[in-house]
Symmetry: C2
Subunit: 236 residues, 2 copies
């Protein structure tokens, strides 16, 4: 437990690529087209869940599921309008390369669909630093279930005790927590510092650039210093 | 100071109508078209500022301002694509009518441009409850400067000591604070509870419906009970 890390798992949407707001508007419009008026702040705070969970969360588990597939297709079509304009978050590629340079295995633990993963990797432009990439096909259930993290560990051969996870949503923090993996939160997906810390993030930074600037002191390199600190959540 | 309220000032964008995320994406795309890559979470947390301040905040006060007007026009064009689809936040019209029914003057204190104000009022569909409406023409400087609230008070004949303000951004809270007006925060614009409370919001609710459900206990009706409460920020 007090070991050096062997690898880092990264969420991608909202953590490395600036997509959370685009997903929010795409889901809002898709839901609107199917006569569901759902406030965008609620949609926003649901992004990061698997789409199965997201619709339950927003529309209720008792709803008629007959149009779920068409709703998801509508979201995908609307989101992919932005595919050529996706923008990495500040210093996302630099952060991945800095991790790889320090001997850490870099895993993109995303449950995005295959075609979205292609667009995300193209935007990120850091395949040289990436060891393993998951996609929706690897997870039975979306976050907050830990399936995608289990798949990421299996595919990379990493042990849960020797990795950290970096994410931007409370669902990332929850999924990591179920495996006992510390989760570093980034606020660049639009979820606030207090929300991430309250969900259990061990540290919170603004974006990949801020984590990169604090890499040597962060839990990315190992959990030794940080598991015993009382004020883990308040780092800038 | 310990008096019954005479009126309520409401911010509109993100407080009564679900536009914050649309403004965020419209500004992101406008900035992108002018070769500025600005993360959407930063744009989001700047919405509510006047557009003069917003560009200073996002691009720095030392920037070349030659393209400011074209940037603003690009934002306006992109945002107005959504004009016919704007959605009121839950129970926004009910809240305005409940305030009017209790004898409170209802003022829409917005610094949106005239043509945006028309679209917002159409979406809100509660003109019968509204006493006074401002627009960008009424404010020299945008929030966090208090100009638009000063204009709202002047046009409605209300006194700062006898009103409360309802908004969704830290800039709303700051502008009200400069006039000593208590600000109730709503998280439906996507700014979190801790951020609004930290900025000085006297109470924080999820959306207009939640404020309506607590109207009798809220500071909307008067400041008497609330000015002396130590735990004003923690109400659900």
């Amino acid at each position: 437990m007090a070991a050096r890390s062997d690898g880092v798992l990264f969420d991608v949407d909202g953590t490395l690529v600036d997509t959370t707001y685009l997903h929010t508007v795409a889901w809002w419009e898709a839901l609107r087209q199917f006569d569901h008026a759902v406030p965008m702040a609620l949609i926003h705070r649901s992004i990061g869940m698997g789409s199965d969970r997201l619709l339950d969360h927003l529309l209720g588990p008792e709803r008629d599921r007959a149009s779920d597939d068409r709703l998801r297709d509508a979201h995908d079509s609307l989101f992919l309008e932005y595919a050529d304009r996706l923008t990495p978050l500040p210093h996302a590629a630099d952060l991945l390369r800095a991790c790889a340079d320090r001997g850490l295995r870099v895993v993109l633990a995303t449950s995005a669909a295959e075609h979205e993963v292609r667009a995300l990797r193209a935007a990120l432009d850091a395949d040289d630093a990436v060891d393993t990439v998951t996609s929706s096909a690897d997870a039975q259930q979306g976050k907050p279930a830990p399936d995608i993290l289990v798949a990421a560990l299996e595919q990379s051969g990493l042990a849960a005790e020797r990795v950290v996870f970096v994410g931007d949503s409370v669902w990332d923090v929850a999924a990591a927590g179920r495996l006992g993996i510390p989760c570093i939160g980034l606020t660049c997906g639009g979820t606030g510092r207090a929300e991430l810390a309250g969900a259990g993030a061990v540290e919170v930074y603004d974006d990949p650039g801020a984590l990169l600037a604090h890499l040597a002191d962060s839990p990315v390199l190992g959990r030794r210093h940080h598991d015993t600190e009382a004020d883990m959540n308040v780092k800038a």
